[in-house]
């Protein structure tokens, strides 16, 4: 399902400056689009605009439009949008209902609210929990899980609703390397299964490795947009508060020294093979 953002300018209530300025962006169905940028650049606000929390929940002043699969978010209710767009937040504590005693019941919560039949609910919950590798912990209390497990639970709750678009707003930022790796394995699996994904992320090595499209936000506007190679190929990217993966900085340095030339590798392994070739030639 496509996402089209057209000339979106948005200001939070009581703020003088807009959080988003004249954003135009289209994300094709099945794309894994990563949002990068310094804190305060507008990543979360854009995530919320696509899920409809902006302006429905936050109010404020919005110009321009956001459509998901042709549906205008302003004219649609949050409930209706929730069937199209699922969102996972930075802090899993913000997401867990606190109203359920088990991991299983937590994932079933949203489905029960939609009045989905019992058999169908059971099937969807099991499917979602298996996808995020939490099925074995289904009888645990959500509050007894580690941060990484809670974040996977939040994703399972979204998956159970089966929205075609999934937004993850810095879902790994509070997690350790192992937790981050698990979330990205799930993101890559969802991408392969055809979901449309919008992922705000600071960990650039994952962005470079997995994104089909990268949008660099700076002070509420789009500073760059394109393939990972296009965006990370910009030499002045640091001026926008973003650092390329360290191995890319290194490859640029080697290119300047005339020790290597070629297409910028997007993973550490590819960088290693490129340099092995140099050493062998």
């Amino acid at each position: 399902m496509d996402i089209v953002v057209d000339s979106l300018t948005y200001t939070y209530p009581g703020q003088a400056q807009p959080a988003l300025k004249d954003i135009s962006l289209s994300i094709q169905s099945g794309e894994l689009c990563c949002l990068i940028g310094a804190n305060g650049a507008g990543k979360s606000t854009l995530c919320c605009a696509i899920a409809g929390f902006v302006p429905h929940f936050y109010k404020g002043e919005m110009y321009g439009s956001v459509t998901v699969g042709g549906l205008d978010t302003v004219q649609s209710s949050i409930g209706n949008l929730a069937r199209r767009v699922g969102i996972v937040f930075q802090n899993p504590f913000d997401q867990i209902t606190g109203a359920t005693l088990t991991v299983f019941a937590e994932v079933a919560f949203g489905l029960e609210n939609l009045g989905i039949p019992r058999d169908e609910t059971m099937r969807r919950v099991e499917n979602a929990l298996r996808k995020v590798n939490l099925w074995d912990l289904r009888t645990r209390s959500p509050l007894e899980l580690s941060g990484g497990q809670q974040q996977r639970l939040a994703i399972a709750s979204v998956l159970a609703m089966d929205p075609p678009i999934i937004v993850l707003d810095e879902a790994t930022s509070q997690l350790d390397p192992a937790g981050t790796r698990e979330i990205w394995q799930i993101i890559a699996m969802l991408h392969a299964s055809g979901k449309t994904l919008l992922v705000a992320e600071h960990k650039m090595e994952y962005v470079a490795r997995h994104a089909s499209k990268v949008v660099l936000l700076y002070k509420g506007g789009i500073a760059a947009c394109g393939s990972p190679r296009d965006v990370f190929g910009k030499a002045d990217i640091a001026a926008f508060g973003v650092r390329r993966p360290r191995f890319m900085e290194l490859m640029s340095g080697l290119a300047r020294e005339g020790l290597w030339q070629g297409e910028m590798p997007l993973t550490l392994e590819d960088a290693a093979s490129a340099l092995k070739k140099v050493a062998q030639s």
Partner: protein, 303 residues
């Protein structure tokens, strides 16, 4: 950044101004054993990163440094004071502690009041409190946030406020639990400069981190924990040149170091400059034999 090696720092700690853990074991009331015999000496002015996967015992260890937890057996002394003989409140003059989640410690309605709370609570006169607040927000580079309400700020900025509020207490030891979590690149750089400034001022900075680039760039000493024990303790170069041991702790060396290891450069490189030198040497070492095979004469300088 402190450039002194841990050995030199260890000598310096003979004055008694240091933290000493002697065979510390700790078991939580539920029966989970979190520390299994940790012995360490951390001196004044040292910058120490503690790394290891979740559950390795990192947070349990640092909670021993200000007496929040007391060892089940063994002992912890700070500047010669046994933590079991003091309350957490009195240890707060010696060891400042910033929690992982800033919302566990922020409760005032203005950043300025939040940062002033600690030094005021320690009984400093108003003038000194004002001085310390100004100094602390300069160290953390958040002077512009002073008039703001902490909950109008994003999580990453609230974290910097929490750090400033502890720095303002002017303790000789400062413990940071995962300071870079949620920070963007400029935020992480700010924290790196903070570590250098505090270390330079003779304060000891002990930080738990999962960010190996941050640990390698800004700390003179890295302690690696696994399963309640210290499995490596040394300079970044000493620690990151042991990939097999690090794997046991589920710790990956920084990207540049890993790339060097993938290419078998034969030495532990920590940054772009070191990589460049080692890689150039590798190419130079390969070149003569290559040219010789191609039947070209050796260059004059090689004769």
């Amino acid at each position: 950044m402190s450039t002194q090696s841990p050995c030199v720092d260890a000598d310096r700690t003979d004055t008694g101004k240091c933290i000493v853990l002697d065979d510390v074991h700790f078991e939580y009331p539920g029966g989970v054993v979190a520390l299994r015999g940790v012995s360490l000496k951390i001196g004044r002015g040292e910058t120490v990163a503690i790394v290891g996967e979740n559950g390795a015992g990192k947070t349990t260890l640092v909670k021993h440094l200000n007496g929040l937890l007391k060892p089940s057996s063994g002992s912890v002394t700070v500047d010669g004071i046994d933590t079991r003989s003091k309350t957490v409140a009195s240890m707060a003059r010696l060891v400042g502690f910033v929690f992982q989640n800033p919302d566990d410690q922020l409760f005032q309605n203005q950043v300025a009041r939040e940062v002033a709370f600690g030094p005021r609570n320690l009984g400093y006169p108003t003038e000194r409190v004002e001085e310390l607040v100004k100094w602390a927000v300069e160290q953390v580079e958040i002077s512009d946030l002073l008039p703001r309400h902490p909950y109008d700020l994003g999580l990453a900025q609230r974290k910097l406020v929490a750090i400033a509020s502890i720095v303002a207490m002017d303790t000789p030891y400062i413990v940071l639990d995962e300071p870079t979590t949620g920070q963007d690149h400029p935020g992480t750089e700010k924290l790196g400069r903070l570590v250098a400034r505090l270390g330079g001022a003779g304060k000891t900075v002990i930080a738990i981190t999962h960010d190996m680039e941050f640990a390698a760039a800004h700390f003179a000493r890295i302690i690696v924990m696994a399963d309640g024990k210290v499995i490596l303790d040394g300079t970044p170069r000493e620690v990151f040149s042991r990939p097999a041991v690090l794997e046991r702790a589920a710790v990956e060396p920084p990207q540049i170091t890993r790339l060097g290891q993938l290419l078998e450069l034969g030495e532990c490189v920590l940054d772009e400059g070191e990589f460049l030198q080692a890689f150039s040497r590798r190419l130079a070492a390969l070149k003569p034999s290559h040219e010789h095979e191609a039947g070209q004469p050796a260059r004059p300088e090689e004769l």
